[in-house]
Amino acid sequence: MAQATNPIRPEGAPSNTAGQGAGPRYDGRPAKQYLRLLTPVTSRQAAYYGVAGAFLFFLIWEAGHYLTPEGSQRFLPSPQIVVGTMVRLTVEKNYLADVGISLARVLISFFAACAIAVPLGVFMGCFANMRAFINPVFSGARYLPAASFIPLLLVWFGPTDTQKLALLFLGVIFFLVALILDNTEAVEKSLVEAALTMGASRSQIVMGVVVRAASPAIVDSMRNMIAVSWTYLVIEEIVAAQDGIGAVMMRAGRFLKVDIIMAGILTIGILGVLTDIAFRLLSYYLFPWNRKRPG
């Protein structure tokens, strides 16, 4: 054989443009390969993959339900049953009120935490002496398990909404401060120096340069931390609440109503995904300059 074969694209392999692939390939493998190193997917491809993954998940769940022996199938209800339960709860049991209460708890406590964590993190990130003064206590506090505050908060506030909001607040505030401090310190020093040589004042630099530069990362930190808020919400509502999704689940547990428990889990999952998407959209529209360039 005189003809050298192309090691990058063996004969017969579909070319990149003819195949489904988009964007460049870096690993020199044929285009039909599914695990292509460092190769981006288009948003359409990402959507297909996402739907396929979700479908697979529900398929396994469904299979699990039917593979369970007849008598214990109610301990693993199928997805249709769980969704049906969600609808029934909504229509008959005013489930949306509980969902609303849970959502409000997460949002109020989370934004209260942000209202303190963002300025504090930025402040420490801008002024090293303030960081040295405040950070040891705050970063140490991250190691105190927030759930261990439940008894204390119950003694202080009783089983009130204040107690619940306080727990959710404590659960995220210390981590938020640490993340936002990092985000602030990650701002290029040369941007600050450029502003200094242009005669910008300290407040113009803090608000106009550091905060502006760090804000996409700050919103990202918030997006990641609100997931933690949802975790504490369930712990809190299971331990000490009369209302909210967690309380609904806890009551259902006493009567072994697994479909209601799973409806609660699914609800929280959906709400979590929705808050995540909301933060992504916020970031997309607030920071057009930070959008990833297509291609």
Partner: protein, 262 residues
């Protein structure tokens, strides 16, 4: 340059030490830069060029000695001394136009005037077509054009350039150098240019201050006399000047001495 020209920069016995005084980056440097001179700081890596420039900008304080620009001691950074950094420092959240406006906004220039001036400066650096682009959409050379326009738009008395073209590839660097010569001709700004590119220094500067390697001292301080006070827009013209080759050879010889310690 006559002796009675206004002194734009006066550096007197400036020393800068680091690590609690154990390391001397800049050692007892004195130099004067007359108004409108383009002065290049050249020397091997780590000889203290950037440190010296940052002290001129007021971003760093001399351990000893004093720096005066136009009769005023340098006590900190200020818009009278504009600086262009090697790193890209355009603000990513502002468009090219808004970036150029930024410095003028700091100075309190009214919006309409600011925008008109910013457009003029973008034209000056050949970037009008990208006025509404964000820095992430610009090439390295375009980002440096924004930085240069932003600095000049503040009309500083002294222009400080720290390897502004160091990260650019050869052709873009050369375009930028030609542009800088245009700007020097029109603006007549006192300029200090840090570079370790010997050819760039000869091309752009009226005078070269050559540093020794640690501790940074002035090894040689020479005027580009062979240019007869001219600046050559076209690099070919400069290369054709008698004396150019000797100058370049001389600088490379100094560079070799400093790097190899012979």
């Amino acid at each position: 340059m006559s002796d009675d020209a206004t002194l734009a920069i006066e550096v007197q016995n400036v020393t800068r030490r680091y690590m609690g005084g154990k390391f001397t980056a800049v050692d007892d440097i004195s130099l004067d830069v007359p108004e409108a001179q383009v002065c290049a700081f050249v020397g091997p890596s780590g000889c203290g060029k950037t440190t010296m420039l940052r002290m001129l900008a007021g971003l760093e304080e001399p351990t000893e000695g004093s720096i005066v620009t136009y009769g005023r001691p340098v006590l900190g950074p200020g818009p009278d001394r504009g600086m262009v950094f090697q790193a890209y420092t355009s603000f990513p959240w502002l468009t090219a136009l808004q970036n150029v406006e930024y410095g003028m906004k700091i100075l309190g220039v009214p919006k309409a005037e600011r925008e008109a001036k910013a457009r003029k400066w973008l034209e000056e650096v050949h970037l009008s077509q990208a006025a509404n682009s964000y820095p992430s959409e610009l090439s390295g050379g375009m980002k440096q054009r924004v930085a240069i326009a932003r600095t000049l738009a503040q009309n500083p008395t002294v222009l400080l350039l720290d390897e502004p073209f160091g990260a650019l590839d050869a052709q873009v660097r050369w375009e930028m150098q030609e542009m800088m010569i245009e700007i020097f001709e029109v603006e007549r700004k006192t300029t200090v240019l840090v570079t370790h590119d010997v050819q760039e220094a000869i091309y752009l500067a009226d005078r070269i201050v050559f540093y020794t390697r640690t501790p940074g001292k002035v090894k040689q301080d020479i005027l580009m006399d062979f240019k007869n006070g001219q600046r050559f827009r076209q690099k070919e013209e400069l290369l054709a000047q008698p004396g150019y080759i000797d100058m370049e050879r001389q600088l490379f010889a100094w560079m070799r001495e400093e790097i190899q310690g012979t």
